[in-house]
């Protein structure tokens, strides 16, 4: 990121420094393992197979975590209740990434944070391929698009479809 930045940004007052020798080194993250307890994810993954969404809820602060969380940081307890969540959602916020595809052409790709109705957290997701990125706006209503045969994984929701927005203040929020 940073190196590109300098190449493409504007000229600035530069000073040259003497180059001394360099000593190489590496950091192999491939020799690391990351351990996670995903026990609390199981009810959620199981329900995905039925095209249903569940989230866990903290009894202390009543926040609903979707996807489920191990610990509620606000209360420092494990969430202990399960609640159903609708598959309708809103765009919490978005950004547009410019990524090179196989032909090195830059593609505009919207990255959205999806806030499901009834949940208190947002998660990162993709919009339907046909959505024009320029039309994306904050709090745009969307709906989960399920895979034909859900397998109980996070990819079961392939992407999010747009919903008709009949709110009267649509033009203002746009």
């Amino acid at each position: 990121m940073s190196k590109q930045t300098q190449r493409k940004s504007m000229d600035y007052v530069k000073k040259e420094y003497k180059r001394t020798r360099t000593m190489p080194a590496n950091w192999y993250l491939s020799s690391y393992e990351y351990k996670f307890n995903i026990t609390h994810m199981q009810p959620f993954l199981k329900k995905l197979k039925e095209k249903k969404l569940v989230a866990n809820k903290c009894s202390g602060c009543n926040r609903v975590f979707f996807p489920p969380r191990l610990v509620c940081g606000k209360c420092l307890v494990k969430p202990d209740r399960w609640v159903d969540i609708r598959d309708t959602a809103r765009v919490a916020t978005y950004a547009i990434a410019y990524l090179k595809d196989e032909n090195s052409e830059v593609q505009e790709k919207p990255m959205v944070l999806v806030h499901h109705d009834g949940a208190d957290t947002s998660s990162i997701a993709e919009l339907a391929p046909g959505v024009d990125v320029k039309d994306t706006y904050i709090s745009m209503p969307i709906k989960a698009h399920w895979k034909d045969n859900p397998e109980g994984g996070l990819m079961d929701i392939e992407y999010y479809d747009l919903m008709d927005d009949d709110a009267e203040d649509l033009n203002e929020s746009k």
């Binding site: 990351y34 307890n37 995903i38 191990l70 610990v71 509620c72 420092l76 307890v77």
Partner: protein, 380 residues
């Protein structure tokens, strides 16, 4: 210095490959400490963690631990050293008068990363690291040889420490199971595989998975929280030079400086009489002897002559010390916890009679380059 009390503690059992997620383990340690003191999340005003980016395999290793470590909307920071150093920062924060309850936690899971490589990153990258002849393994060998040759000691003298610690660890339910051995003998230690001659495998503190947490509070709050607060009456920390070739490895200059500062603060003039027990973070068996001498408990070179068994003249590491399990970033904190247990009389099978004053230490670096020492006292 104002009085600061340790009001709660908790340690997750040491495992060589824990069946735990990282966040789960941190949560268990912190929640346990809060429960141990009978407190709530909202009582926490500051959280100091001890983690290491190279041990956890991620940049900003404390970024995602905010929630599980009790740091949500609390004044949070991280000390990238031993857990004992994190407690130093927690202590400073309490002393400042800004905070009423500090949570200090530290730990990592070496089952998830190449421990010795992560330690190799501590060496000078422009001189020693490319060839890796200096690393935590060889430096321990150098240190033991330097100590033995200077005072004419034998390998048996060093092995005795390992035997004592492994036997003590057998009485400590939280120690690493692989380290607990009530029947170990000196010849077992000497005949174990060579690690870095003269150091053998069994003289080395085995890296393992664990997280520990400690709660600190100023005097006014501490006496309300618990009947048995343990007061921090002295602290000293110090760093000596890095280059092994410049240091006298047979002694620990940094520990001597740290001990002087801590003793002055606590008003200790004769450590052998004024202290009842020591919990020291020894990466290798011989380090315990070097520290014993640096702490002024015996004359230099006389470390092996002191009986440091649980019922001995001056008990050292009744919990088994780091040889009973060395979770990086947590070991120093565990030493403090063990000293607190001794003072509170909660050490169970390895309780050392009546303990009024104890010292606990933490360290980082090759051959204990940076040491920190605490003097802890019970209520009289």
């Amino acid at each position: 210095m104002d009085k600061v009390g340790i009001v709660g503690y908790n340690q997750v059992k040491c495992y060589s490959d824990a069946n735990y997620g990282r966040y789960e383990m941190i949560f268990e340690a912190v929640r346990g400490a809060i429960d141990n003191a009978g407190l709530k999340k909202k009582d926490i005003t500051t959280v100091i963690s001890a983690t290491n980016d190279y041990y956890d395999g991620r940049t900003i290793s404390n970024c995602f631990t905010v929630e599980v470590g009790g740091g949500y909307m609390a004044d949070e920071s991280k000390v990238e050293m031993d857990g004992a150093h994190a407690m130093l920062y927690g202590l400073m924060r309490i002393l400042s008068g800004n905070h009423k309850l500090a949570v200090i936690w530290g730990g990592s899971m070496p089952s998830c990363y190449p421990y010795h490589s992560a330690r190799l990153y501590e060496t000078d990258p422009t001189w020693e690291r490319p060839n890796a002849y200096v690393n935590d393994i060889t430096s321990s060998g150098f240190q033991m040889r330097a100590y033995m040759e200077k005072y004419g000691l034998s390998k048996e003298d060093i092995a005795k420490v390992a035997v004592k610690n492994k036997k003590n660890a057998a009485k400590n339910p939280l120690a690493l199971e692989e380290s607990q051995n009530p029947n170990i003998s000196i010849s077992d230690v000497l005949e174990a595989e060579i690690y870095a001659d003269p150091v053998t495998e069994l003289m080395v503190a085995p890296p393992c998975d664990s997280v520990a947490a400690v709660l600190l509070a100023p005097e006014r709050q501490a006496v309300k929280i618990t009947d048995k607060p343990v007061w921090i009456t002295g602290v000293g920390w110090n760093q000596e030079t890095y280059y092994l070739g410049e240091r006298d490895l047979s002694q620990s200059t940094s520990m001597e400086h740290a001990a002087k500062a801590a003793y002055d603060m606590a008003g200790i003039s004769n450590p052998r009489n004024d202290l009842d027990v020591a919990e020291l973070f020894e990466v290798c068996a011989h380090e315990e002897l070097i520290f014993t001498e640096a702490l002024g408990l015996v004359e230099k070179g006389k470390g092996p002559q002191l009986n440091t068994e649980i019922n001995g003249d001056f008990p050292i590491n009744p919990s088994g010390g780091a040889l009973g399990g060395n979770p990086p970033c947590a070991t120093g904190l565990i030493r403090i916890i063990e000293a607190v247990k001794q003072i509170r009389g909660e050490a169970g099978q390895y309780q050392v009679g009546d303990v009024k004053r104890a010292v606990a230490s933490g360290q980082i670096g090759m051959c204990a380059q940076n040491n920190i020492l605490y003097v802890l006292e019970g209520e009289n």
